[in-house]
Point group: C2
Chain length 341, copies 2
DNA sequence: TTCATTATTGCATTCGAAGTCATTTGTCGT
DNA sequence: ACGACAAATGACTTCGAATGCAATAATGAA
């Protein structure tokens, strides 16, 4: 029985169609598309001509089934209101492109959702998983690991979890900010915290306070939950505790902007003369002239690169490659807090 | 020969493994997972128990191959620097979730890239394609159409292209803005344009100028290319043409913010008293107190809904369902331009 | 020219789930 | 208790590309 059929009305032609058109076997077509496949130059030419004529597209689904590699990487995102994350997502998709991988994105609003929705991603036999701005239950991490799906946490770390992680050195960066304040001889200092349970906030807070304490200083504190409104309100809250701080470290840029707006328009103080402000993330609008925000710049490009590298390396490997990488961040000096000396 | 194997080391168990464990056939397992499948309650129970024990996950890749529906929708995005688009992306992913579909996202920086990268998406047998903030060559649109992949353009339209589109009524909205300026009895009016070749800019510009012309007015013009810096510079450029405008309509919010910052900090004018400003998109930070931007709010939620609906409806259908939907937008009044009367 | 290599090629099988079809089991009515 | 009919089940084939293996053609060495 002839297996080959003419191109159907739907226009979806298969490798068999192409094989028939080119007068070769289906195997030849398959090999023609495989780099370094064993085909003569002449047949490869014939095949590509036939393929173009029929508008043939290899079927990635069929290929994935037999080769057991889907070339798809799952990306879990949340908190899209912080422009930092869309920017990160863009970089991920670009890097994945470059590696010949496709990104299949999952947005989760609540952490619980991640666990609920992840199975849907796993059904698609993804070759790896990146988790950003969200957490993964240990149970789920184990499940991924047992399915042979490597997981990399981006910018957060979960001790003992079955996953690698790539972070920026939150503690170190926060220490640099503390140093800056100390050297500037500020004594009334405050911290505006992000969402309290997140590892990023804990690390930034800890690094900051520790270094201040070493210098014999303490700091006021308000919580802004990583949102603009939160930062705005936190800046106002700080006013109720007596003399206003001379310097504020905000756990991210959005809150810093909220705080700055509140300080200028509601408290009628100036930045940086009355209050110095430092943020974290170096998002796009941190450089807008009205904000001109001095902030911590995580090495996002490299973090993304390392994350993708890690996933790619884990592909062939058998055992899980649990690695935690921490990359240094640096302060970008702009107008909202000036370098001392 | 026994086809079933014990769960492999990799932990990936198949429907055969489950079948063996439950003492039924593979067909039964498949049916157990299909809503309304013909299985008795008892066997379904047995199967699910076995499945849980083995950690079985149906393989979506295999299912897609035989059923010819991948349940994946391609989403092409660009211009992620405008926060409008991440917000749109999030909504899309959520709506698709709700329909049991997965989104596979492609970021393109240049328009050309879309044509280059799209074949990679098509290999994955996507069931549909959404194009946002980017354009698709007619050739590519035809190719999708011939492969039976429905395409919906989100917030842009390409006449004669083989695709549906869902837009907001850019012209109508621009007319409303013109009306607002006319009723406010402004006479010195300006328009800050986005990227000139985009359909959004053309429509907004045309609607705005037409209505002004009807009222016997004209308007100054500068180009901001849809960026903050562009808007900032454009606002300064307008100062060189004589008396500064009393009212400016910016083709998007980011430019409006740039313009506002330039007007306040460089030209020392006030908003809205010296200059009224209206933007377009109603992005998150438009409502930040310092901007408090009066702007056009497109019905994004409904646009996304209609786009997804369109794709879903096109699934079963044979012929292409070319539809162009235009949804009305409304002005959100805030402080940067007040309602007349 | 002849045999040993190496480069091409095709056949047949495989991946994992879904669906067709035929068979078996179960339920009722009489 | 028997036939009629519906529900439940399993054997087998299918989707489209990849690949091991065997067969063949091309090349080179002697």
């Amino acid at each position: 029985m002839a297996k080959a059929k003419k191109a159907s009305v739907k226009g979806k032609s298969t490798s068999y169609c192409v094989a028939e058109e080119a007068g070769v076997s289906q195997s030849a077509v398959s090999r023609a598309y495989k780099p370094g496949g064993s085909v003569s130059k002449a047949t490869r030419e014939k095949i590509f001509t036939a393929a173009k004529k029929l508008g043939y597209q290899p079927n990635a689904i069929a290929r994935s089934l037999i080769s057991k590699r889907s070339n798809m990487i799952g990306i879990v995102m949340a908190d899209i209101t912080n422009p930092f994350y869309p920017a990160v997502l863009e970089m991920f998709l670009e890097r994945l492109q470059a590696e010949g991988l496709r990104g299949i994105v999952l947005m989760a609003s609540r952490d619980q959702q991640v666990d609920d929705l992840l199975p849907q991603l796993l059904e698609y036999q993804i070759d790896g998983l990146v988790i950003t701005s969200a957490t993964l239950s240990t149970a789920m991490a184990d499940r991924c690991s047992s399915m042979g799906v490597p997981v990399v946490l981006f910018n957060r770390s979960i001790p003992d979890s079955n996953s690698s992680s790539v972070c920026c050195d939150n503690q170190g960066a926060a220490r640099q900010v503390a140093d800056l304040f100390v050297k500037s001889e500020f004594t009334r200092i405050a911290y505006i915290a992000g969402v309290e349970e997140t590892s990023t906030n804990r690390e930034r807070e800890e690094g900051f306070y520790r270094r201040l304490k070493n210098a014999g200083l303490s700091a006021d504190r308000a919580v802004g939950n990583y949102t603009y409104e939160g930062g705005y309100q936190a800046a106002l809250d700080l006013a109720e505790k007596g003399d206003y701080p001379e310097a504020i470290f905000c756990a991210n840029d959005i809150m810093a902007m909220g705080a700055m707006d509140a300080i200028r328009s509601r408290l009628n103080l100036t930045v940086p003369d009355d209050v110095a402000i430092v943020g974290f993330d170096d998002i796009e609008n941190a450089s807008w002239p009205l904000y001109d925000l001095t902030t911590v710049q995580p090495p996002v490009e490299r973090m993304v690169q390392r994350t993708v590298d890690n996933l790619v390396e884990s592909q062939g490997a058998e055992g899980p490659q649990q690695v935690t990488e921490t990359l240094a961040a640096r302060i970008v000096f702009r107008g909202s807090a000036v370098a001392p000396g």
